[in-house]
C-alpha cells in the first residue's frame, strides 16, 4: 500500500494554494490523506498586541484579513469598548454596519473571482474583480483607503460619511443587483459549474457543527446560524434581513449561500442608509485610554464566519492578553474531512469553496 501512494505538496509557491501548504497523499488520483501546513504568514499578532495601546492595536489587527478588514476589527472594537467603557453613538453604529456589509461584499466578490478561475471559468475572475471596484470606491469615500481602513475605533468611527455617499451607494447597489442576475446566468447555473460543484465535498449538518464550521460553510450545510441574528450587535436588530441557508452541504450550496449574502448585504446597506439617525459619530475621551480590570469576549459575523476576540485587561493601557479567534483557522479541521476520498481534480473546487484565507488563519 505504502509504495503505491504519492505525496504531493501543494503550496506554498502554487497559484492554487496561496500562502499555505497542503500535503496530499494520493493513491492513483484518489486522495488518501491530507495534512494542512499553515504558518507561512504567522506574524505574531497576539503577542504584538500586548505591547500596543488599544488604539495602536487597530492597524495591525486588521492586516490578517485585508479584504475584510472591517469584519476583523468589528469584534475588537466591541470588546475594547466594554473594557474602556466607551459606548458608541447611534449614528456610528449604522456607519459601522454599512462598512461591515460593504466589506462583506468586497470579500465575497474577491472569493468569487478566485473560485471562478479554479473551477475553470475565467470570465468569473474578470467580472467580480472588476465590479468589486465599485464597492471599493464606496468604501474609499468613507474611510479613505482601498482595503485597510483603520476606520473603527473604540467609541465610534473616525469620521462621518461624506454628503454624496448615500446617493452613490444606492445607485451602485441598484445597478449591482441587476448585474448579479447575469452572474447567476453565466456562472451559478452554468452546466460546467454545476458539474464541478454539485455533490462534491459534502459536509453533513452534524459534521459541520461537530467540526466547528462557521459562517457560509455552516449555512451551506443547512444550519441557520448567524451571529447577526443570534446575538444582534450594533444595530442589526433594527434591520430586516434574511439569512440564506442551503441544505445540501456541497460546494454549490456554499456558493449559493455567498450569492444570497451578496443580495442581503446590499439590502442591509440600503436600509441602514435610510434609517441612519443624525448626531455625533464618535464618543471621544482625551488622554491615553486605560482598560478597566476584567475580561471581555465579543463575536461578530465577518465574511467568513464568526470572528471573536477575547481580551483580558489588567488596568493598564495595553491589553494583558488578546486572543483572536478567526473563522479560517476553524476551516483547517474541515479540510481533512472533506478532501479524503475525493479526486485530485476536485481539490481546488473544495478547497476554495471553503473560502480559506491563509493569512487570517495564521494571524
Amino acid at each position: 500500500m505504502a509504495e503505491r501512494t504519492l505525496t504531493l505538496s501543494i503550496g506554498p509557491q502554487h497559484p492554487g494554494a496561496g500562502h499555505f501548504r497542503l500535503i496530499v497523499v494520493l493513491d492513483g488520483d484518489i486522495v488518501v490523506d491530507v495534512k494542512p501546513d499553515p504558518g507561512y504568514v504567522h506574524r505574531g499578532a497576539e503577542k504584538m498586541a500586548e505591547y500596543r495601546t488599544y488604539i495602536q492595536n487597530i492597524p495591525h489587527l486588521e492586516r490578517p484579513v485585508i479584504i475584510d478588514s472591517s469584519g476583523i476589527l468589528f469584534p475588537y472594537v466591541l470588546a475594547s469598548e466594554e473594557l474602556l467603557d466607551l459606548p458608541p453613538p447611534p449614528r456610528a453604529q449604522y456607519i459601522r454596519i454599512i462598512m461591515a456589509e460593504l466589506n462583506r461584499i468586497i470579500s465575497h466578490l474577491y472569493w468569487l473571482g478566485i473560485y471562478g478561475v479554479f473551477v475553470g471559468h475565467t470570465t468569473m475572475f474578470l467580472w467580480p474583480v472588476g465590479d468589486r471596484e465599485l464597492f471599493i470606491d464606496l468604501a474609499q469615500m468613507i474611510a479613505g483607503a482601498r482595503v485597510t481602513f483603520a476606520f473603527f475605533v473604540p467609541g465610534g468611527v473616525r469620521n462621518d460619511i461624506p454628503d454624496d455617499f448615500p446617493d452613490k451607494a444606492i445607485k451602485v447597489c441598484n445597478y449591482y443587483e441587476k448585474r448579479l442576475k447575469e452572474y447567476e446566468k453565466i456562472f451559478f447555473y452554468n452546466p460546467l459549474v454545476l458539474k464541478r460543484t454539485q455533490g462534491v465535498g459534502i459536509l453533513k449538518r452534524e459534521d459541520a457543527i461537530e467540526l466547528g464550521a462557521t459562517g457560509p460553510n455552516l449555512r451551506g450545510s443547512g444550519v441557520k446560524s448567524d451571529v447577526r441574528k443570534d446575538e444582534p450587535y450594533s444595530s442589526y436588530d433594527d434591520i430586516d434581513f434574511e439569512i440564506p441557508v442551503y441544505k445540501d452541504g456541497d460546494c454549490w450550496s456554499r456558493c449559493m449561500v455567498r450569492l444570497g449574502e451578496l443580495y442581503q448585504s446590499m439590502n442591509i446597506i440600503k436600509q441602514a442608509i435610510k434609517k441612519m439617525p443624525s448626531g455625533p459619530v464618535k464618543n471621544a475621551k482625551r488622554g491615553v485610554l486605560k482598560g478597566i480590570e476584567g475580561e471581555a469576549f465579543a463575536r461578530t459575523e465577518s465574511a467568513r464566519g464568526t470572528m471573536a476576540y477575547y481580551i483580558i485587561s489588567d488596568g493598564k493601557p495595553y491589553p494583558y492578553r488578546l486572543k483572536l479567534s478567526v473563522p479560517s483557522f476553524r476551516c483547517l479541521s474541515l479540510m481533512k474531512h472533506l478532501l479524503v476520498n475525493q479526486h485530485v481534480a476536485d481539490i481546488p473546487a473544495i478547497y476554495w469553496g471553503l473560502d480559506y484565507w491563509p493569512v487570517e488563519a495564521d494571524k
Binding site: 487597530i58 470606491d137 483607503a145 485597510t148 473616525r158 469620521n159 462621518d160 445607485k171 471621544a284
Partner: protein
Amino acid sequence: MSLAIDLISAINQAIKNLFKRRITLRYPEVNLDIERGYSYDPKAQVGIAGYKGRHILHLEKCTGCSLCAIACQNIANCIAMVKLDVSYPQNKKSIFPQIDYGNCVFCGFCVDACPFYALFMTNDHELSSTDKKSLIMSPLQLSIPPVKKKGLVQLEIDDRGPYHK
C-alpha cells in the same frame, strides 16, 4: 434541442456583453480623481473623510511637540523628529517630523494625534522608488503640496455598465 437552446443563450450573452462599457482606467494617461486627503479636527475630535495618502506638514503651525511620533511609535515606528535650519516662532527647538515611507502604513493616527492642525494627509499615493533612502521624506519635502495630476476621471455608472469619465 436543449443543446441548441444553451448555445443560443450563450451567444446571446456574449453579444450583449460586446456593447458593455469598459471599466479599464488607462492609468498613466489618466488618473483617478481623489478630491482631498484625510484631515482631522482636534476641537471636535473627529476626522474629515478623505484619502489617506502621503502627509503634508504645515511648517508654520508645527510646534515640534512630537505627539505624532509618539502615536506612531508602536504602530510602524516611521516618524522621527529632526532638526531643521529654519526658525519659526512657535517651534523653539526647530524640530519637525520626518517620515520614512518604507515603514509607513497610512493609517492616519499621527494626523489624529496632532492638536495644532499641522499634519494632514494628501491624495498623493505614487511613491515608488528604486532607492530605499529616497523613501525617507524630510520635513521640507513633506511641506510641499502634491502636484496636481492630469486627466482626472471618476467612476460613473450607466445602463451599459461602469466606466471612467
